[in-house]
Subunit: 500 residues, 2 copies
């Protein structure tokens, strides 16, 4: 028991130190002055190195060895067993990474993010290219250091989605694509188009912020334990108990961009706020994986936030808030516009049907980057070729092409697939919530979101990492993950919208 | 040389880690959500403990021992000699502090600051009392651990103002008081009063912010390497090269509070921005002391920002910016109003003449707190008695009495005297700048502040800690510190204003 407590104390301290870096990362992307970038890179690299050192301290290995022999740890999913299992996983992975690689990755990615911001603004891939080359090289080193059974990409994927492999994803995603492609074609064939210009009228930023904040609070995000700020690429940062931060960006001529990203990040934030604060810093007080995290954000953004029932409740307030934009708009027209389905360039703006094709495209390219088949210099051409193939479109520039996402600049390769996994998990969870909670739509129409939030908290948030993602979905829904719930959900939603 | 380089590497790393805590401290006082306070206290305590550990690592002692023997270190004020001298001073001090005391102080003060915010808001001393008791007890432990030649208070003072003692201050401050008290009495006796109501008209917060920002930029603060944000108690945080942050608070019915605090914090910020970034993290790239830091803030706030010449240049813009407040106000009336001299309750709102009496009062009380003569519970009574004695006034409540300042809640006991020292240093520096730069007032009237800023940079900022405060003022002005320049400055400024 003493060894276990010392193990937990050490792991919590490393988490606490990591959460200091989280504050610095949040600040870097919200308020840090431009000239502070170099110093910030040094700060973050220092902390990353120290966290790595703490996480891989020989004492952790010794303590793990001690406690792994004890009986209570061998009892499947007891809290103790879960903590030891996940600490062991992390420890083994981290021990394989040389500290020099960890700090070099942290330093490079901190600097690369600022370069990416400029490159994206100026649509200048040449500016970003050397950084992408360096990051890919470092990530390949990481994969080799960590090791893998199948392909190097697996080693990176596993960091975000423990137990997931490129091979399994390829099968899952192929089935999903088979469900999506004919649906997109059928929708296109109807020739119906909502009037999306109504979402591009005047939506003053201050009112967008107030409205988004009210909606996030309404679905259950606690602003006394969180914030909402502006950034380039929206994200949510769960700094620690009582401190979860949402970010978004505003366009005064676009209602949807900020609003749905706020709901999305609030979904992440509600998960973080739902973790057990007394277990902070241990696996039992941590999120399962990125895909499960994404299931929570997509669930609130789309399954709730783009539902007809949600807007039955919220549209009158939206109309009062934005008379310039919505005074002459019917709820039917608005609901159709926020669910406009059409092939497009920008992933984060994509509708629920085509969104996953954007992810599949990135999954394809980043596997090629890591395998070495695709040199970084060829990314723009490969990207544009894939956009042609998936969407029959040609990106007008790299800002709306391969420079649109922040992930690679932050070293997050192997991260994108978790977005689509998140959609699939969300569909399966939402289906089960409906079975368990009765008429969810009626509740939404009355502005009642607490029952769903409590269900998610009880079924998912409070378990921390008790179950791996694949086990969690089986435990909650009684079925393994499949694309079926998601494809069924799209059919039942988009069929009526497009009259098919 | 190798030992010296390793010593510098270690000291810089400790500074870099400390600068992470600075970001967390800034965030705590600007944007952190209320419920994040406990986690933040744990983060800051962890970092404080780690910085302490790095600063007191036995390796530092060994490296110091090695380099102190070498010839280049014995050469008075060479960069190497200065670095070694100051690293030794810090090392010896820190080594005397048990890590448990350091983390306990960091944790307690982080929590106490939030309690103080609430106590001040609600004027509830009882809420803050147990925290003040605990902080005083911890600071007394600190004094005992560090040691002192005279009184325990010296050990605390020395942390902010190396080499300064309570005994020397008592002499200096007595001379100052002898210069101030008759001046305040003479001003009071004239019966003249500016119309300060003109400063309490409508000053919309957004325009105050824009105006304050423009003024800070005008005197030379670089906003591409800094920020301005809102807080409860204004401060400046020099996080590192390229990242210096000002804060203030706004009252829509008070022009002066925010404006002069912005100039004040910008003065601190210009000092931080003037340090040599290539020497970051070493004594040669660090500020001399708090008093010298304060000399820079007070110089820009008062000697420049409350001068007639400054407003000759700025008043037309002020009037255009705030027509509700200033359309019917003459420059003479405005200039008199911002230099209103009268006994008052709030230190940060005090005029240049009475300000130092506020500091003397705190110096008196905190010596009694540390000696044990004054129990924390008796602070409100002792405070009110002293206000009566110094100003012939009775504070209406503790918010405008002993709860007004944040310092004690942050463990900063022995800090206040540096404010008055800062005024005395500022007067002496400003006098010298006038001699060196010719007609400064004529420059201000033309909106030229760069010559003064450059003079300060060359004479003060770029030296880092080459000279201790007392040696610096002698090197720059050729004279030791005395109250004379300051008292002379007040006479020549307030004489004409009050017709005496």
């Amino acid at each position: 028991m003493e060894a276990y407590e010392e193990l937990i104390r050490r792991v919590r301290e490393a988490s606490l130190l990591g959460s200091c870096a989280a504050v610095l990362g949040w600040d870097q992307r919200t308020y840090m002055p431009a000239k502070g970038a170099l110093h910030r890179a040094q700060q973050i690299a220092l902390l990353a190195g120290m966290v790595h050192e703490q996480t891989t301290a020989p004492a952790i290995g010794e303590l793990l060895g001690e406690v792994e022999g004890s009986e209570s740890v061998r009892e499947g999913d007891s809290a103790m067993a879960v903590n030891v299992r996940e600490i062991r996983r992390r420890y083994d992975r981290e021990c394989k990474l040389p500290r020099a690689l960890v700090t070099e990755l942290a330093r490079t990615c901190t600097l690369a993010r600022d370069v990416w911001v400029q490159a994206r603004r100026e649509s200048d891939f040449a500016l970003f290219r050397p950084w992408l080359e360096k990051i890919v090289a470092l990530k390949r080193q990481e994969a080799e250091a960590v090791g893998y059974a199948g392909v190097p990409y697996d080693a990176l994927l596993d960091d975000y989605e423990p137990g997931e492999t490129a091979g399994h994803l390829a099968t899952l995603f192929a089935a999903l694509r088979d469900g999506l492609v004919p649906r997109v074609a059928a929708i296109q064939a109807t020739g119906r188009r909502p009037d999306i210009a109504i979402l591009q009228r005047e939506y003053p930023v201050d009112r967008q912020e107030a409205f988004g904040r009210a909606a996030a609070a309404m679905i259950g995000f606690d602003f006394t334990a969180g914030r909402l700020d502006e950034t380039t690429h929206p994200f949510c940062s769960g700094i620690g108990p009582g401190d979860t931060r949402l970010t978004t960006r505003y366009d005064p001529r676009d209602f949807g961009d900020a609003f749905f990203s706020i709901l999305h990040e609030a979904g992440h934030g509600i998960y973080d706020q739902g973790l057990d604060p007394t277990l902070y810093g241990t696996p039992m007080g941590s999120a399962v994986s990125l895909a499960i995290h994404e299931s929570q954000s997509r669930l609130w953004e789309n399954f709730v936030g783009r539902s007809r029932a949600f807007w039955d409740h919220v549209f009158p307030l939206a109309r009062r808030t934005f008379p310039e934009g919505l005074a002459d708009v019917t709820l039917d027209a608005f609901y159709f516009a926020i669910n406009d389905c059409r092939p497009s360039f920008i992933r984060v703006d994509a509708d629920e049907v085509t969104y996953n094709l954007h992810v599949l495209l990135r999954f394809e390219l980043e596997q090629a980057l890591i395998s070495g088949d695709l040199p970084a210099a060829d990314v723009p051409a490969a990207w544009n070729e894939a956009v042609q193939r998936y969407f029959d479109l040609t990106p007008p520039d790299n800002s709306r092409g391969c420079l649109q996402d922040t992930h690679w600049s932050g070293g997050a390769i192997g991260y994108f697939p978790t977005y689509t996994l998140g959609n699939l998990y969300a569909a399966q969870f939402f289906g089960q919530a409906r079975e368990d909670l009765g008429d969810l739509e009626a509740q939404f129409r009355r502005g009642e979101f607490a029952p769903l939030k409590e269900w998610l908290r009880t079924k998912i948030h409070r378990h921390g990492q008790r179950y791996r993602a694949a086990d969690l979905v089986a435990a909650v829904t009684g079925k393994p993950l499949s694309p079926r719930s998601f494809v069924d959900y799209l059919r039942s939603k988009y069929g009526p919208l497009y009259g098919i």
